[in-house]
Symmetry: C2
Amino acid sequence: MKFFTVTLLMCLVTANAIAAWESLPTEAPAPADNPTTEAKVELGKMLFFDPRFSATGTVSCFSCHNVMEGGDDHRSSSIGVHGQIGGRNAPTVWNAAFLSTQFWDGREATLEDQAKGPVTNPIEMGMASLEDAIERVRAISGYKVYFEAAFGAGDAVTIDNAAKAVAAYERTLITPNSPYDRYVEGDRSALSVQAIRGMETFEQAGCMSCHSGAAFAGPALPMGTGFFMKFPTFPDRPDIEKYSLMEDEGRFTVTGNVADKNVWRVPTLRNLEYTAPYFHNGTVKGLDDAVRIMAQSQLNKDLSDAEIADVIAFLESLSGEFPQQTMPRLPPTPGDLLE
Amino acid sequence: MKFFTVTLLMCLVTANAIAAWESLPTEAPAPADNPTTEAKVELGKMLFFDPRFSATGTVSCFSCHNVMEGGDDHRSSSIGVHGQIGGRNAPTVWNAAFLSTQFWDGREATLEDQAKGPVTNPIEMGMASLEDAIERVRAISGYKVYFEAAFGAGDAVTIDNAAKAVAAYERTLITPNSPYDRYVEGDRSALSVQAIRGMETFEQAGCMSCHSGAAFAGPALPMGTGFFMKFPTFPDRPDIEKYSLMEDEGRFTVTGNVADKNVWRVPTLRNLEYTAPYFHNGTVKGLDDAVRIMAQSQLNKDLSDAEIADVIAFLESLSGEFPQQTMPRLPPTPGDLLE
């Protein structure tokens, strides 16, 4: 996986960010080998919600990515099988399709690759292997017809096809038409005076150095590129230690490259009001603290309480329209599926 | 709570069961103090799916009563907070509105009373008290408007109202128009020849002594009455020990009355193909074993393999139409909700 270095990125985005405020597209890009189809989305939604492919039969994608709310699980870090607690805050699945890498540390290039990770993670879904997981899918005979509808007859029930279907469903999880989107598309009444003031503060303070683009997670880049930033850039601020923000070394845990210590994928800012608590370790509970800490740790700036309130009003204007989710019907369980 | 003694029941149902094959009503009865309204159903659905009122924020009614499938969790016994494992098989929530008591041991009279139980059960949702649970609901300020729409302005966010709303939603979880229902309503082509043969075997063998009525869980009785039966009635059959079917003493654990040892609420037979594994302890994985054991343990009869296959064809004809479930949108989480 290619990715720009931090320094190069900072130059790039400083040049680009001024260009335009972007609204969120109503369709997400899909890779050439996995065009989004209705049949894939239908199957992918079933798999996304089905807890039967976890060691205990109780944990699904949906468990930590609750699409009835912010697409995360409102915990500091998630709980997987056997009550085990993970190490990082679950990122939202809403608009993940617009990010050019997946996971906080960007360790997977695509939604297809991401979808396989939690299945065999021992503290998430805890399956012994991907093969064990797809064997469970095969054992639920009612799934076969959906795989064949999505991928053609033959050996359709494969882990790669399952991942493609889940990714196709996730590409429908986008939240356009926020007040901010309507504003930048010309509806000048869509934002309050305070939110507009916050938008200006957000730009002038330099937040858009990283949080640019339609998802406020950096510019659109080829899939797998990744848009990363060191966090904290100014590590001596007292809240950094208070909230243990340097304990997890981020992308360094993937690459082993010293330059990647405390480097993270820049997260989206959309629907933030639904995704508390904040940051990679979920230690910061309020948006006010989150904004204050980001200004200090990334821009070495101390925003006033009034400026913080304005920026929050702006950030709240990034909550879009959540497409209504109809629950899938899942095929019945053979009695011996879960021993 | 009143309930008939086993002996009285056996007489009653022998007289009643012959009367008629009943189809499932398309509406469930509601108690006088909780008429079903759209606003209650909407709120109740939100609460049913919301995991934030459990100790870990991960367990909702939906976790063990999966309405995407059989209304249970396809496990022998459920998993609650902190990975703890419960003692009994989760009963289906589909058509629970037609049962005159709730829980396997009938310890609660109504869906309203049932809804409160798992919240404070330490191995289910694990909240310290119902008051703690409703405090969490109050902390999610977006809920208030839904409680007021359902129950009027004022002190609407109460545990009793929450339980009423959940019960109102559950009264919509009914599955009419199964092949069986269409058959008894006059569509003679709705059942296969084998299913009709199984229906006759089911009646002649005596299964309807207990599994009568629209839900095949006994006759319609006033709410809170309860329709109970000893299981096993013939305890010396080898499978009783093999599947540990007498270890849990059932209703005796509620009443302390020796006559209630190994007495259970008669469960519904609807949608059985979706609710494996079977019985109160979930030890029996296949419908074939379940039918064979029931005939032996309750009727002292040994059905042939062909008879068992016929009865299964009949039981599978009891799978109805599952009303499509639209996911609720849940109001956002304050960052400090889950410490």
